[in-house]
Amino acid sequence: MHAQSRFPNKLLPYILLSPSIVVIAVFFIIPTVKSIYQSFFRVSPFGDRRIFVGFDNFVRLFNSPAYVQSLLRTLIFATAVVLIGLSFCMIVAVLLNQRIRGMSVFRTFFIWTYAISPAIAGTIWALMFNPATGPVVYLVKLLSGKSINWMNDGRLALAIVIVAAVWKMLGYNVIFYLAGLQAIPTELLEAASIDGANGIKRFFRVTFPLLSPTTFFLLIMNMLYAFFEVFGLIDIMTKGGPGNATEVLVYKLYKDGFISIDIGFASAQSVVLFVFVTVLTILQFRYTQQKVFYG
């Protein structure tokens, strides 16, 4: 136990750490501090004029119905993406963990989605649901006689974006669940069988608890995805429309900051988003980790 060597040089660890510290500072700490600073100002588009407004940007944020609606929408969106995504992917992973001929082909198909860029994924989904020419729209019309148009149906648009977002994360989640499943010792499952547990019982009593570290990890990754990374998908598919129906917080931030060029207001939004996700993550670590079983 005492064999672990210590660095005799006090400076060396810091030198070795410095590249990552620089990266964190440049890409994380400096922008964060700058955002916080800018959120107290109203800045002209060209940056030549600025007025100190104190907390006005924040006050306005929470008094704006558009923002509060966007916040609620984001919560609905993130909950749906995480819940549907994780439960669906777990099922897919269990199915992919069977011993069937040609399984590697199936696995590749399911993991594929993660390799597709958000822009292409967005285009594919947008094309499939194109009100005039989309194959899905055509099929729905054949089967139900109804013509669906997500360009003037906000709820449908949100639903489709949720499905697309889940689909996009499919590969990522499935890989982790597959790895998790394969790490489960077969003795445990065999023992459960001998004790008379059927397939469903085995899954809920043995597999599911043993997957909990993976689930916990994926929960956080998917939440971060639903809050931040869906930007590309939404930008390509709906641009937040129709009529703000798919305008989640991160897209609203982009629109206010980069289309309206209201840097101060957008900075205030990014600060709120940052605090929000930080709090959510801490809460999850606090309350979920107790239930996670690390074997």
């Binding site: 060209f46 119905p65 429309g241 309206s260």
Partner: protein, 432 residues
């Protein structure tokens, strides 16, 4: 071998003697219009060995403006940037531009610029940016579908009621799945105000002093929105996206009519496999007559480049305004030629009698009445306001209930509230 070396040497020498000035141009032209622009630049570079204009496609109009602003803050901005009419107030206040009237030679004939364009972009009688691609909105219609629906293909609708009636006929007869679609819905809404001599914002549409309040939630705006909701509820009006997506629906025969910028004429005529008709924008009877308003973009010169570059910039702008260049640009895109002499030349050579669709927009804008209401709206942070109005339009089209007018009013009131806040913020930064 020696000969080649000598030639090479000479070539190197000329490069040394005539160092090329490189001028960057950021633009938002795509598709057919991109090719037309590249042709202009190519012709210019070939005739001006000492200047090289480098055109860069920077995305949509909004993206191009945003990128130019971001670039200016980092001092990596282009010499020339193409900014759409929406960016007018922002560019004027930016302090980041060189007005073209300062750049021009004193003997340049600004009087030759087509009047509505001159009016739109002038401040106190002076042009701040170079007119380049100006357009307006008009009504396109599919003559084949009209015929199929039992309508006279030479009698397009002239009023809102006729659009509705014809649209219903078209949808019910199965001639097309939809009646009409709009490109740039918020812009069409602005056009309707100008066309019926209604102000869109206070202080004469922001032209006397900076606008602080929008007027589009008043009686007229509510009337227009209510009509549109009614059309949508009857399947006549089909939502066609915020920019040019509606063109595809029109070209594919999914809708029979399209309100779109004249700049789409070139590509629509090239792609459509049916007879394309064009006509004036439909009106609501009972309101005073105004005029359709200029859209499109102009070329803005940005500050902060070496002094020698600006001579080259002006050379290019002068070239763009040249009679033959402007005519060719018009023919390949549908944008207005910017000068009266170019227009006359086109008329003389019989272009318009062979291509009557290219004349429609001209007749419309020249036969309207020019009054303060139809000179074009000038708003601070107009980009954001357009976005708010586009969203309002999308919300309105989703409404399925019976309280059409009340809903239209509520949606527009909410949008106006947001827009007034945007205007207030803008004034707080730049003063009245």
């Amino acid at each position: 071998m020696k000969k080649w070396l000598a030639l090479l040497f000479l070539a190197a020498l000329t490069l040394l003697v005539f160092p090329k000035t490189t001028i960057t141009l950021w633009h938002a032209m795509s598709g057919q219009n991109l090719k037309a622009l590249e042709d202009i630049v190519k012709a210019f570079n070939e005739t001006h060995p000492d200047i090289e204009v480098v055109p860069v496609f920077t995305g949509s109009y909004a993206e191009t403006l945003t990128k130019a602003i971001a670039a200016y803050r980092n001092n990596t901005h282009p010499h020339i940037v193409q900014v759409y009419e929406v960016g007018l107030q922002t560019m004027l206040d930016s302090g980041a531009i060189v007005p073209v009237y300062e750049l021009a030679e004193p003997d340049f004939d600004w009087g030759d610029v087509v009047v509505p364009i001159l009016n739109y972009y002038s401040v106190d009688g002076k042009l701040y940016s170079m007119p380049f691609n100006s357009s307006t909105a008009m009504l396109y219609y599919n003559k084949d579908i009209f015929q199929k629906a039992g309508l006279d293909p030479n009698k397009p609708p002239t009023t809102f009621d006729e659009v509705f009636e014809y649209g219903k006929k078209i949808v019910q007869s199965g001639a097309a799945p939809g009646g009409i679609a709009f490109g740039w819905p918020a812009w069409v809404f602005e056009q309707m105000h100008a066309l019926h001599a209604q102000f869109y914002a206070n202080n004469e549409n922001g032209r006397k002093a900076k606008a602080t309040e929008v007027y589009f939630n008043r009686e007229f705006g509510v009337k227009v929105f209510s009509e549109w909701i009614k059309w949508a509820q009857n399947g006549v009006l089909v939502y066609g996206g915020r920019e040019y997506n509606a063109n595809n629906a029109f070209i594919a025969g999914q809708v029979a009519m399209l309100i779109q910028s004249t700049s789409s004429l070139g590509s629509i005529e090239a792609k459509a496999n049916f007879k394309v008709g064009t006509t004036f924008l439909p009106r609501i009877p009972g309101y005073p007559r105004g005029n359709s308003v200029i859209g499109g973009a102009t070329l803005w010169v940005m500050k902060g480049k070496p002094k020698e570059d600006y001579k080259a910039v002006w050379e290019f702008l002068k070239f763009v305004a040249r009679l033959d260049v402007s005519q060719k640009w018009h023919k390949s895109t549908g944008y207005f030629p910017t000068s009266n002499s170019a227009l006359k030349g086109l008329l003389d050579e019989g272009w318009f009698s062979e291509h009557p669709n290219y004349l429609t927009a001209f007749l419309q804008i020249l036969s309207g009445i020019n009054r303060p209401e139809s000179q074009g709206v000038r708003l601070g942070n107009f980009v954001a306001i357009r976005d708010v109005v586009d969203s309002a339009f999308e919300k309105a089209l989703q409404y399925k209930g019976p309280d059409i007018e009340k809903t239209a009013k509520a949606i527009l009131d909410e949008a106006a509230k947001q827009c007034n806040q945007i205007l207030k913020d803008y004034v707080s930064l730049y003063g009245k």
